[in-house]
Symmetry: C2
């Protein structure tokens, strides 16, 4: 039997999805699971998207242009103008989800062995895409104490080697919910300019900025227009994760020309999704205001609920729909699996994503979990009840042990 | 400005799509183009697929399982049983088109520098996917004189080195339309077994086997079940290229487990396409019989039409909807571009795919084109008129030169 590849072996399983078999087993035992492990919102997809697909304009579901339908790309320039991002449609390649935008950007810009600096914790699948592209991630630790603010630029400077070719950010951040300030982005801008680096900016959560704070795109930064590659997706914007429509955007013509060759190899992005996505650009403004109000309420609820559990700490994020919480457990990977395998309360349990998978540094984030607040407040309340109870019963609970120690002394 | 990657530079542009800008320019000049350059059939997508998408069952377009919806994978096992391919649904990963199945198969099974033997001419994008995966294609020439039959196994044996890890076939073949015989496949089976190679089998055209000839799948070959990776797609089967739904199939559990990690990184295949594809499994049998009758008529027409043009030779293929023709031209790349840039007849022209892009050997297939007979016979007739006239007028015509030479003698 032939052996699978080294890359296949090296490839990390998704930390968000690796617990899926335990969840499936729990469901088969009749347990209801509150899924806070994955950024799959419960928010309804805008009706205009379903209508567009229902009225699919052709009798043959054809390939589109490899860069996406021209009509959609032109429509997208309208969308970006609302955010003060001025594009020509040729500066957009429609991709199969944001995932493919990341894949193509790495293959287009980086050689095997090139280094990319990312503040950790970061979106776990960057690890997978880096493994695919043989890119070396150089993590810089951001900490829960600062709410996962950008580490000081002096830390980035320390990491720069002759192989450093890129910085990657996610803003607002998955998994931390942190929204970068203009000052933070300006400090990155200087670094990018000085060392002539690529700046990959994953901004798929731009609709989700809270508390009146300003959204600053990497495309707003002056003087690094040739360095910036914007990675985008409609998955979260319109709660249409399954449509698999994203975009790779750059003003750098060499990037676009090389990226198009990768896009041509896979022929075209999905046809139904593109038609839906084009219609979504005209989704009514109240769709977003309603969604945003809902997420703010959820965030406020969940951050309060978490911080009121003994031993739990969760900073309050200003963007996206995630937060990272520190739990009083020995190992969040074991705890999250235990919640699915061994725990239930009233035939219910909660599924969380162990944060370890969002760190590149081994052992980091061992007592942290990522929580996606993608359920309604009633469900979030029940999920938090499960979590609180689970933390009391979990054998690897660290708080209890301390109390037991005290009792023993 | 940072430099794009070596891989980005090395990546071949699609030979099928590289002439697109010339076609777009011709259209802007008011020229009607008969597209025989791309395997985009004009056949209508089955109504059940549109109905399924119209009745999308959820209010949220969610991610599916990374391996695809369980219901669809189970339904697919029914489909394959009709072809005597017996699968458990866990032996299927739904991919974003056949393209992604190929990408994931290569990354899963092959290391950088590993060699893969393919009979050329072969589907051009194998070059792109190999470049992405740093796999080295070792081509073996099949010839137009034999109708592009499998080269003798002795030729394969000569190519085997310590780095040889795989053989790739496409059956029935894009771009040649050749349908491999049982004897040919048995000879490959022995080779695969002897050298413990992977056998990647791209069988996306299995519905299109003509003249009562037998379709033999790589999955039918005994004793190499652990070596075979089947690469599939619904694009051609249901004329649904834009749905972007394919499949990676293997009985090898290590392959499936590593492949799933790549699938997890990109989250899930398209939701609308999956729902449509699941419904398509129940497309009425007459859909296929009608389509097949149509393709046989087209093939007969086009092969006759081609062979009746002076200096043109086209073997008659038994599968898929392609043929390769040898033309009396100095360079088919230049000729195909000339047809779009300089030629028109009654404000019409024809777009063909230069065969050079389907060969890995530099200079091979220089006077050949691939023709996709994906238009109705009326359009094919007009396209052949354009081709015949174009060949008379083309400055690089080789026949004319010979006559001129004779005249001069």
């Amino acid at each position: 039997m032939p052996r699978t590849s080294d890359k296949g072996n090296r490839m990390p399983p998704s930390p968000i999805r690796k617990l899926v078999p335990y969840a499936e087993a729990a469901k088969k035992r009749g347990i209801k699971i509150y899924h806070l492990n994955i950024g799959q919102p419960d928010i309804e997809t805008p009706q205009v998207m379903f209508d567009a697909v229902r009225n699919y304009p052709k009798r043959v579901v054809e390939y589109s242009h490899s860069a996406g339908n021209e009509s959609y790309r032109k429509k997208l320039t309208e969308y970006y103008r609302r955010y003060n991002i001025n594009l020509d449609y040729t500066e957009i390649i429609v991709t199969t989800g944001g995932s493919e935008a990341i894949e193509i950007a790495m293959m287009t810009c980086l050689n095997a062995g090139d280094e990319m600096i990312i503040a950790e914790p970061f979106y776990a699948n960057y690890n997978g895409f880096s493994a695919q592209a043989d890119v070396v991630i150089k993590p810089i630790r951001s900490t829960i104490e600062t709410g996962f603010a950008l580490p000081p630029v002096s830390e980035f400077k320390k990491m720069i080697t002759p192989r450093t070719r890129a910085i990657m950010i996610c803003n607002p951040s998955n998994p931390t919910g942190y929204l970068y300030t203009r000052a933070e982005l300006e400090s990155l801008r200087e670094l990018v300019l000085k060392h002539d680096l690529w700046l990959f900016s994953d901004e798929v959560y731009r609709e989700f900025c809270y508390d009146g704070k300003e959204y600053v795109s990497a495309m707003h930064l002056e003087g690094i227009e040739q360095n910036v590659v914007l990675l985008d997706s409609i998955s979260k914007r319109y709660s249409a994760c399954g449509a698999r429509i994203g975009a790779l955007i750059s003003k750098n013509k060499e990037v676009m020309s090389a990226a198009l060759k990768f896009a041509q190899a896979r022929l075209s992005p999905p046809a139904f999704g593109q038609v839906a996505a084009e219609a979504a650009v005209d989704a009514p403004e109240e769709y977003f205001s309603k969604v945003k109000t809902e997420y703010v309420a959820r965030r406020d609820f969940i951050v309060n609920a978490l911080n009121s559990i003994e031993g739990v700490f969760c900073p309050k994020p200003s963007g996206a729909f995630y937060c990272i919480a520190r739990l009083p457990v020995d190992d969040a990977d074991i705890f999250c699996q235990w919640l699915l395998e061994k725990f239930s309360y009233d035939s219910q349990t909660v599924m969380l994503a162990p944060a370890s998978g969002f760190y590149s540094t081994k052992g980091a984030g061992k007592d942290e979990v990522r929580i996606a607040y993608v359920l309604n407040i009633n469900d979030l309340r029940k999920a938090m009840e499960c979590l609180a109870l689970g933390l009391l019963q979990y054998p690897g609970r660290t708080l209890k042990r301390e109390k037991e120690k005290q009792a023993a002394e």
